[in-house]
Amino acid sequence: MSAYETYDYDILIIGAGGAGLRAAIEAAASNLSVGLICKSLLGKAHTVMAEGGVAAALANVDERDNWRVHFADTMRGGQYLSNARMAELHAKEAPEQVRELEAWGALFDRTADGSILQRNFGGHQYPRLAHVGDRTGLEMIRALQDHGIHQGIEVHMEHTIVSLLKNGERIAGAFGYEREKGRFKIFSAKAVVLATGGIGKAYKVTSNSWEYTGDGHSLAYHAGAELIDMEFVQFHPTGMVWPPSVRGILVTEGVRGEGGILTNSEGRRFMFDDIPELYKNQTADNPEEGWRYTQGDRDARRPPELLTRDHVARCIVREVEEGRGSPHGGVFLDIAWIKEKLPNAAEHIRRKLPSMYHQFKELADIDITVEPMEVGPTTHYIMGGIRVDADTQMTAVPGLFAAGECAAGLHGANRLGGNSLSDLLVFGKRAGEYAAQFAAENGNAQIDTAQVDAIAAEVLKPFENSPEGDNPYQIQAQLQEMMQELVGIARSQESLTQALEEIQGLAEKARAVHAIGNREYNAGWHTALDLDNLLTVSEAIALAALERRASIGAHSRDDYPEKEEPRAGKYNTVIQKTPDGTMTIRRNLIPELREDLQTIIAEMG
């Protein structure tokens, strides 16, 4: 047996974005030892890219807002497939969590009376998103980071976990490598929290960074946890489309919240042409009313540009497919037009949307205060993920917890903008709290070193594979193109069956990829290792998408355009690994809603 550098913690947190940091801070508050694994440097995780704001019913801008409205909005946005208990906890606890960030130094934009300012966002009935211009994620991760570094948390930067370790049924720790030298490390822990974010790198056009390879989803799945609703991948309606090298970079929904409109090549505001029944009562039927809404008129209804992301993305795809797109295959998003309405519009735009202004100016030579942007859908977020207990965030594996994007339940078939930042605070905190409780009640679990040796050998295989094997980047690119084409916004039995076949073929090739060079900071080797996770989540997405023969929320089937199969009821798709190593799927009926929650939904219309 080889010797590995070993660390011993009460609680190990894997992932250092908002959810991981919040979990670590909470776990450390119980005076237990906490280790925190960052795939990159501390403070660079994907939370940093969140722009528009954090949703919390603070009611600072509109006193009619409260947790019940937020709860109902979240459920409606998720097409009632959300875990209602999670939606309830989230709506109730988000305000306190946002206030707490302020006690840790975060500085949100202010209202006239000096409270936290809130802005409009798609699917939220009232202005609800606390924000800092359009760099809210940076403010949040920095506040968590700068507070977190004083809590006695041990941070391991630029480390990747390749496998969870178990002892019998329960969790025992994790095994991974550090990037700098490529050395292996064992992290023994009584409880483990996964907070690894999403899967965007399974697609070609994405707003996500290289880190987003579904690590947590895959680690949990292989450790025996369940994945639910993996078919629900959010394609954010507004990513940049031009120039090609920036394709997919996010354009915040805040642009539309501030009055930005979507138009096609004929200059038509096409979003007025298709307003879903579920949202008819809440949506403006003329541009004037929509504009008044964005300017805070409480009697006005929101413009159709602020319908939910799944719907807006589909409308954009329709415009492009029917030949009314912009020159580079998107549609136009215009905020410059507000100069007709506001004096000093250019200055107003630069103040409200500074990083959008900056991003288009520097990357596309576009001045958004003067001309419209070109935008189109980009893979942004996965609603599905690791199944957890609503209150404790524990998975089916005792001692294994999950929070943030890699966990599932809150967002159902479609996530509302702003609900992810609040999700990671509320459930990051809960995961940290209950992981600490688990660690306090359970002793150490022995780690099986033979198991570790076997994993280590597997991890080194890309170096030993024949140089004839594929270049890992090629396999990654092939997978991304295939997923984009076959498991993208529009899916069918045919495309999904083909996708599953191609995944098998790619998995075979992935096993033979060759890594050049040595173990030190070797991006090719890391890409080879990430392939396993990408293939696992891609298979899960395609399988779940095949299973749900309906079009609902972010999941659209060309062959089943209707919302649900007759009499099928509301269900979650549940994926699990069988003892023989294959992936299985089943349906799990969603239990009847608690009566008081039903009443809220009925009242909110």
């Binding site: 990159s40 660079k44 270049n471």
Partner: protein, 246 residues
């Protein structure tokens, strides 16, 4: 599509040199795209740090044709076409491999600084009231993406290597964001003078020039901190007061 030659710094702390690569450049590409293309097609093991590719995370700092920049925000069309483009790691930090440097010193220094310490909440619900105009200047400092390009160009660190006595522009911006935070109650002036070495800064403004977030580091953060330190420790009236009160 045009071919462009890149001279990329390859190697580790013991041995490194420029290696030339040629790659295709298409419309709108930034330097990071070219590096990625080279990595995917010709040099799989090339080490480069990056995350967001949108100027928001501050990971891909490097020296491009000798200028400290974010690779993701440097467009190929802004660089001269007729000569090779050099891409080097930040020179003020120890090299790990290729374009990746050891920036852990910045994190360690920050950890030693006195944390944010708010006054008791203003309202019964545990919240504070702050005017937007009172936080505008602090929000400027909080735009910092910790790319450490300002640290890279600061001659106190880069040439004089006074890492033990001087915390550098990034961390002065951090100190300013705390000192000028309307509800913070901590006093960090003694540390700024003694252990953080603010006196070493002779306001050449190199840091301000390279900041990709356009933070006015010298004028808005460092100079006001210097003034506060002077007021606190060198003001003759305060000095007399200290003598008599001690």
């Amino acid at each position: 599509m045009a071919k462009t030659t890149f001279r990329i710094w390859r190697g580790d702390a013991n041995h490194a040199k420029f290696v030339e690569y040629e790659t295709d450049i298409s419309e709108g590409m930034v330097v990071l795209d070219a590096i990625h293309r080279i990595q995917a097609e010709q040099a799989n093991d090339l080490a480069v740090r990056w995350n967001c590719k949108a100027g928001k995370c501050g990971s891909c700092s490097a020296e491009i044709n000798g200028n400290p920049k974010l690779m993701c925000m440097t467009r190929m069309s802004d660089l001269p076409e007729d000569q090779p483009i050099t891409v080097e790691p930040m020179r003020a930090f120890p090299l790990i491999k290729d374009l990746v440097t050891d920036v852990s010193w910045n994190f360690k220094v920050k950890e030693k600084m006195k944390p944010f310490t708010p006054r008791p909440p203003d309202a019964e619900d545990g919240t504070w009231r702050m005017e937007q105009e009172d936080i505008d200047h602090v929000q400027e400092f909080r735009k910092c993406i910790e790319c450490f390009l300002c640290q890279d160009v600061c001659h106190v660190l880069r040439e004089h290597e006074l890492h033990e006595e001087f915390i550098g522009p990034r961390l002065f911006v951090y100190a300013a964001s705390l000192e000028m935070h309307p509800i913070d109650t901590e006093n960090r002036l003694a540390e700024l003078k003694d252990t953080d070495g603010i006196g070493y800064c002779n306001i050449t403004k190199c840091c301000t020039k390279v900041c990709p977030e356009h933070i006015t580091i010298t004028d808005n953060a460092i100079i006001p901190l210097k003034e506060r330190v002077v007021d606190e420790f060198y003001d003759p009236v305060k000095k007399l007061f200290r003598i008599f009160s001690s």
